[in-house]
Symmetry: C2
Subunit: 373 residues, 2 copies
């Protein structure tokens, strides 16, 4: 794969062409090699960077011997393409929000990848030496099951490569800082019955009917909003899948409701599980998946500096992050982390995913201002 042209990466660029070029290399989870190659070849050989490759993750580090190190990370994979590639630039001359780039990855999160790639090339060159050392991480398999996550694999294979005092994850955050994230837990709530031929249903017990109470409790449930370190986290409790029945003429003996609980970072995984067991008291509850939340971490000194830099450049106030992101993975490594990237997270995974292109340079400028100091 050809590296990205220096013209696309120029310090004064609006980053639109670079973002488009990154989006137009499809990289659905599991198929990131071509994009990882292009990123690696773009970074390798630059005298201010040590470049490492692990699978389809690329890590590039400055080594100025600064007393603090910032990790800037972003995933390079996307959810499946929905007939929305190549990306299209729409100028929208009458619209105050300006031009948008439309297509898969523009929001989640190749805009953030473009910001990071351009800054990785620039920060550390003569005249743009950073105030901190910087580790740039471009990783694979974020959009699929946690066991495949490239950041997790780096943490297992090369833990020292992720060392740092603070981390910025370039997930879309409307160019403001989004602190921490909710935890997420999945449980299966299972009802059991007795199978029977549906022509003689009185000889059986219908497990799907028994799930009425499970769904009623979900339908009645009022999620909390919890304030953590000044940010309000909205929780959620949802059936995400339901299954039951084996044939059109059999009273089913099992019904399984898969429930996803998103819980504020003030609640531990153990507390979240306990809460679910109370909500579904009387039913068989099995935890199938769990990831802790992360407190916003905005009381750390570096976070305060970063928040000030972002406020000055993009006008963005810190807000809570609702979705689970790898911020929590950094928190688990003991590294305070925040989300900061261009794009509206509500458009992530949508077929009409699109990005106001003005956010690209604004994010780049805010991040550069903080790193260079």
């Amino acid at each position: 794969m050809t590296p990205f042209d220096d013209a696309l990466l120029a310090p004064g660029s609006d980053l639109v062409e670079l973002t488009a070029a990154i989006c137009d290399i499809p990289s659905v989870s599991g198929d990131e090699a071509a994009l990882a190659d292009a990123i690696e070849q773009t970074l390798r050989g630059r005298p201010h960077l040590d470049v490492h490759r692990d699978g389809d993750a690329v890590v590039a580090r400055t080594t100025f011997g600064r007393d603090r190190r910032v990790v800037v990370a972003g995933h390079i994979d996307t959810v499946p393409v929905a007939d929305n590639l190549p990306v299209r630039l729409e100028e929208r001359p009458g619209d105050a929000a300006g031009a948008i780039l439309r297509g898969r990855g523009t929001v989640d999160m190749k805009g953030g990848v473009a910001v990071a790639l351009a800054l990785a090339c620039e920060v550390g060159t003569p005249g743009t030496e950073p105030a901190v050392d910087v580790t740039w991480v471009f990783y694979d398999h974020e959009e699929v099951e946690a066991s495949l996550n490239g950041l997790g694999r780096l943490a297992r294979n090369h833990p020292r490569l992720l060392d740092g005092d603070f981390a910025v994850l370039g997930e879309p955050s409307n160019s403001g800082i989004e602190g921490g994230c909710n935890g997420t837990m999945r449980v299966e709530v299972r009802t059991r019955g007795v199978a029977a031929h549906s022509a003689r249903s009185w000889t059986g017990v219908n497990a799907i009917h028994a799930a009425a109470e499970v769904l009623a409790r979900l339908d009645r449930y009022t999620p909390r909003t919890v304030t953590v370190e000044g940010l309000d986290y909205r929780e959620g409790l949802n059936a995400v899948r339901i299954r039951g029945g084996i044939a059109g003429n059999v009273v089913p003996d099992e019904c399984v409701v898969e429930v996803n609980y998103r819980f504020a970072p003030s609640r531990s995984e153990a507390e979240a599980e306990q809460h679910l067991r109370e909500v579904f008291d009387g039913f068989d509850v099995t935890v199938t998946d769990s990831s802790p939340g992360a407190r916003p971490g905005l009381d750390a000194p570096m976070a305060k500096d970063f928040a000030a830099a972002v406020l000055a450049v993009t006008g963005g106030e810190p807000r809570p992050k609702y979705g689970w992101t790898d911020v929590a993975r950094f928190a688990g490594l003991g590294i305070p982390a925040v989300n900061f990237g261009p794009g509206d997270p509500l458009l992530a995974h949508k077929d009409d995913e699109h990005l106001p292109v003005a956010e690209l340079a604004a994010c780049r400028d805010a991040l550069r201002a903080w790193l260079v100091g």
Copy 2:
């Protein structure tokens, strides 16, 4: 396929070996050819029978010019084998019910097929001329969707072959007459919502939660028992399948509950549908499958004669049939029909399907007494 040996078919046989031989030719729906071949070759060439083949259905008719004709029909397919072939004979010397034959098909309904095959060979031979003409029908694809049913195919391809004044379907009925059958209708009850990422579930509407009320109505529903022509038909209303959700992190926008309604033969399909639309008022209801019930037909003169013959030999009183059977298909052709066969219908499709072997000869004797007069 080798025809069944005449020794197995002998008039004085207890039919156990013949039933075992028929069971041990596996004939799961769609794979009936070998058994159909064996039946065809057993019947073809006998001077008292005209034999026809259509797909894997075999029809054999006597042509004595009698003023009435009886159709004796049975399906030769089974539900999938559950490690319960070959069949095993268990003598059970201490058990009053006597020996049993255990394995797939013994009840549903190769015992009935053995009775019919033996009688087809015997009734019409010199000294055993019947009082009525007899049409023996062995057909395929009864255990799968109605569109594949071999009896239905015969009615379309060769309607004259099924002509008759009365029909006996050899489905298991504990060797008593079971009259008519309930109708069956399947509907999909569908709820809709608005998809959203489960991390921001307040931006969506959960279709699975909306199904709580559908399941609650099913759970509260009290099925009727309806007396038709002196027989009590128990109804049933059951969710047989439920599905909803596309991923572990998406608020689902659709949930579908598949409901099976078994309704008394006093109710038409249109009335059954109307009832379901009332039960699920406010929800989207789509009929996916429907078969009418059949009134018991026990007021027909031939039915009364047959009931007397059965009572005399097996002691069985007429009872209602709960399961939908092809009796309703005969009713649709204008031919009164009853179920009559060896075995307990509650054991049909069960892994431990088994048949008290004494019922085989009893059914054969009762049916022969009525046909020969």
